[in-house]
Structures are given as C-alpha cells and as structure tokens.
Subunit: 357 residues, 2 copies
Amino acid sequence: MSKKLKKGAKKPTLAVVGATGAVGTVMLSILSERKDVWGEIRLIASARSAGKKLMCRGEELTVVALSPEAFDGIDVAMFDVPDEVSAEWAPIAVSRGAIVVDNSGAFRMDPKVPLVVPEVNPKDTKKRPKGIISNPNCTTLSMIVAMGALNKKYQLKELVVASYQAASGAGQPGIDALREQISAVAGKNLGEATSDVRTVVTKNDVFPAPLALNVVPWAGSLKEDGYTSEELKVRNESRKILGMPRLKVSATCVRVPVLTTHSLAVHATFKNEVTRKGAQKLLAKAAGVTLLDDPENKKFPTPNDAVGTDATWVGRVRRSPDDKKSLDLFLCGDNLRKGAALNTAQIAELLAVELTK
Amino acid sequence: MSKKLKKGAKKPTLAVVGATGAVGTVMLSILSERKDVWGEIRLIASARSAGKKLMCRGEELTVVALSPEAFDGIDVAMFDVPDEVSAEWAPIAVSRGAIVVDNSGAFRMDPKVPLVVPEVNPKDTKKRPKGIISNPNCTTLSMIVAMGALNKKYQLKELVVASYQAASGAGQPGIDALREQISAVAGKNLGEATSDVRTVVTKNDVFPAPLALNVVPWAGSLKEDGYTSEELKVRNESRKILGMPRLKVSATCVRVPVLTTHSLAVHATFKNEVTRKGAQKLLAKAAGVTLLDDPENKKFPTPNDAVGTDATWVGRVRRSPDDKKSLDLFLCGDNLRKGAALNTAQIAELLAVELTK
C-alpha cells in the first residue's frame, strides 16, 4: 500500500486518537519535544472529551469526537485506545486514507500487521498490507531494545523474565488507585513489622489485591495453562519483533507499587558465549539504551531514574556463574514513554520520512 | 559431638541471643505459640539492652548482657545477630556447652557446619562437628521448602530466581526507613504519573536508593563478577541444603516497598518432565507449603497474605509453553518467620528432641 501526500502538502498530517488518556497525555508532550515533522495535528477522543482544549507544540488544540469524518485528510493516525475501540476504528481510519499506528493489543499478533520497534526492526514498517502497524506492549518494550542489540551479536536462545510493573500500566485508574492506597497506609500503625494493608485498603477495583506495601503477581487476563495475557504478550511479541518464532520465553508478570516505569529481571541465554565486559560495551553503544552499571559505586537503574526518559536503562549485567552463554540483567523503561507513546511516535516518524520522500 | 541434659533436667534450656532485634522480637512470639519443649529460656542481647524486660511464654524475662558466663547451663543457643558477632560468640557458646543454631552468614558455607531446613534436610542437624548449625538466608528460605518438595519428585537441574524482597530483610532500620519514606511521599503531588520520590526522600541510609514508589535491584554487598552477596547466597545455600553442589542457579535480588515477606518468581528446570497438575498436587500436600493457585478466581499469594504465617506460599504454577521440563512459580514467605526465627526455632526443636531422647 503506497501512499503519497496531497498535492502541495509539505508535511504529513497526524491524528492522535485517545489524546486525553494517560498515554495520550504523554504523547502530546513527546510531540512537542521531538523534531517537528508534522503538518496539522488533530486530536481525537471519545465524544465525552470533544471540545476539550489541550496544548501541543505550543498551540492550543481542540479535541474532536471520534467519527469516520474525523480521519479525512489524515496521513498517519496514532491510536491509544482500548483493544475493542482499535479493532473497530483502525480499519475505518485506513478506509479514510490514513496509515494507522496502533498501541492496542488488537492487531499485534495479526500476521498481516507488522509489530515494530524502530531500534530493532524498522524495515518491517514497509510490510503493512492492512495499512496498520502495531506498537508492542509496554512490558515487552521495556526490554526488547536491549535484547535486540544483544541478539545481533550473541543470538538469543531463551529468555526468562520476571517483571516489576508500575501501576500506570493499568492507565490513569491504576495511578489513582495506587496514590489513594499509599495515602491510606501512610502513617498508619500497621502492626509490628507487618505489611497488612487489608485493614486500610478496602476499595480496590483496578488491581486484584492491595498494591500499596504489597506486590501482586497478576497483570492482564487469564489465558492458556495458567499464564496471563501479559505474560504471553512478552513471549509472543518478543518472538515476532525479533523474527524468531521459536525463541523460548517464560515470563512471570508482577505489579509493584511504583507509579510509572516498568522494571524487568531478565535471564538471557544465547547460542554463543558471552562476556560481561563484551555485553556492557555493546549495550553502552546500543541505540536507545542507557547503561548504568557500576556496582562498585552502587549505581544501577531504578524506576525513579528511568521515569520521564526515553531510553531503556540497563544495569546489573552479570554472566551466570554456571553458564558461559547466559546473562542476568536488570532493566527499567518508562512504560508511558518508550513503552507506549514514544515508540508509537517513532514509528509514525518513520512513516513521515517515507511519505515525504 | 553428643550431648546430654544435666542430671535431673527434663527439658533443655534455651538462649535467644539478639532477643531485642527485628527477628528476635518475632522469635519470642514464635516461642510463645509453639509446643513448649524448653525449660529455662534466657534472653541475651548487647550490654545496651541488658535489663530490658520482654514477654515470652506469658512470663516477663529480663535481658542479660552477652558474656561467656551468660551461656553457662544453656543446652541450645539461637543466635540472631550480625555476622561478626556470631563469628566471635558462637564458638564461645559452644565452649560453654551449648549447641548453637546461628542465623547469620558467618558459618553457612563452612563445610563443617550443616545448613538446615527441617522440611528438606532434617538429618543434617546430626553432622555438626563444630557444635554449630546454620540457618539459611531469608531469601533462600522463601523458596527452598517448595523447591525441595519438587526436587524429590522431578529432580532439579536449574533455578532462575528474581526476588521481591521486603524492607525488613534489612532489619528494624529497613522497616523504619520504608515507613518514613511512605509517609513522606503520601499525598504529595509527584508530578503527573511519575514516581519521582527524590524530591521528598532525602535521608536514606539503609537502602542505596529511595524505596517508596520504587524498586531497588540491590541487596547485600558486591561479590564476584557483579553478583551481590544476597544473590550468591541463593545459589550457594540452595546447593548445600539440597545436597546438589552442581545445581545451576542464577538470581537477581531486588528490594521492593513491602514491609515484611519476601516474594520470588522462580523458573525451575528439572531432569524429568513435569505437569502443572502434578506439581500443584505435590505442593498442596508438601509439609510447610500452602498452595494458593486458583487463577480463574484471581487467587494467588501476595506478601499481604503470607505475612505473619509460617508457610511458604506458592501460586501461579505454570508449565513453560516451550519446555516440558520447566515450571514458572510465584512464592511468598514471611522473611522474619520461616525466613529467620521460625526455621531457627524448628532446628532448635529437632535438637530438643535429640537431647531428651
């Protein structure tokens, strides 16, 4: 599906669908910070939010309601909405002439929709028979840039992943729920050395257990064999992005009381022998990666360091004492930026380059 | 080294060394709850705490200062003190006639000191040429009861562990630091959707980074090849307890903002094929294990469920989709109880049985 700008247009037009959500809000600030490759930017959201005014690139923009006509004249549409909204509206946007970059789970595993991380598989943006490109899940995105770089040199064989996922992975309601719970437990006498927050945290619609002073081994919905949708996304999306359909991947996804930025402990096994120094050197140079690995001075990434930044932070790089082909690492990535809005914007920018060629 | 009770004594005497610390406090309540196998119980602590009165078994006991004479007449001495204090004083207690059960790291890897988990290797208590038995580290203890049970049936080959460790693993100062930080961040406007607690958490002597609204991939001190002492303990202690000196173990230890109870995501690979149902059935019956694994109803263990209980809680049992010999599990264990005081008390009770035979 090749596409050209309208005659006379110098820059492509962009729609942000879901502009008022947690990711949409971050998207507007990212669009304001990055190189300005866009002509008109149109903000689209549910009818409820229509008429709302938001700032982007220093201009005040008025949100318009989602409708087929809202996509008229749009070259690229970025979607940050629930799966079912994307499933319905992305094809409508395409039928109105837009290329869609979708951050929902609706199309990620569709063989006719590429799943793209610009640092890893940028060329896949060109193979888009449906006019739709998918953006990976935030948990996959918190490690895949670093894993892609290591894979190029050492060839991945297996990933064992344990996640430390932030509340904002469940959107604004997740952030609000954690803030509320933290306020409820603060200063309370919770008994000697116990973390019993049940007594003070009663309302809890977003997470299946209290999150303040607790960790909750659940994200997403139940899928095959006891795995959650989130855990299978880490497996299936990593395989698709890396182009390795047989890569062994096991993940356990756990929610932690952090507002924003996912962390992951990864045990990666390769076909080739690795060295700690070699891996550190490679990661220090890899695009999109910030290496913070100085254990002598207790320097390593934490969510608090990574939040609000664009990079995948990597530290605690170690070669397994029992296997010369395995590395243990700890990674942090802002799930609202690289994990969502930033990667979507980067894909859209690849399309802007293509459209203005 | 065989030992008998003093003539006429019906029950052995017990010393609790470090009675006023975070673990010591839990120890006194555990001794009050369990079957009463002890004659005199003597509380020992640093000179600073001498004279303090504490309740145990419904009696008020007066803490005595640590001295060689304090061990006179003691049959079993449980130590919950820093490594260097154990290293100096455990041999003194032995020279005064006591058998020592030590919960520090001082003797754990000494080949002449057994490392015991009563559900896994109770018979090792008898091989104690130095008169000292070591209690494992709390992180190892949070999984080893369940792993020991699985190992008996399926034979372990490899463990990949990621921990979610509570603040109380760093003792009372850890608990206090987290409580203080939680109070400091509660209700504060930390910026839209960020976890930037740096602005409000300034004093932080216990952990190398803020812990409230954050996770910190560091516990213990730096050892070989970038691993921490805590990570190598998980490896070396698991091997020793299971009697498998070549077991492959990789661990990444991460502190989370939970007051008490460590959690672990474990990817365990066995020599034999496993099934999810078979593993669940085995764990449901295993001594010291509580299986809570009903994902259909979103039931799984969290620190909040496990805190204050004796069992190792296991849930999220899954067989890896890519390997019939691998299981993914999530475990929780109260690091002050089974992870420290309870296991020490259980070892001491094995000695009480031996002494009264």
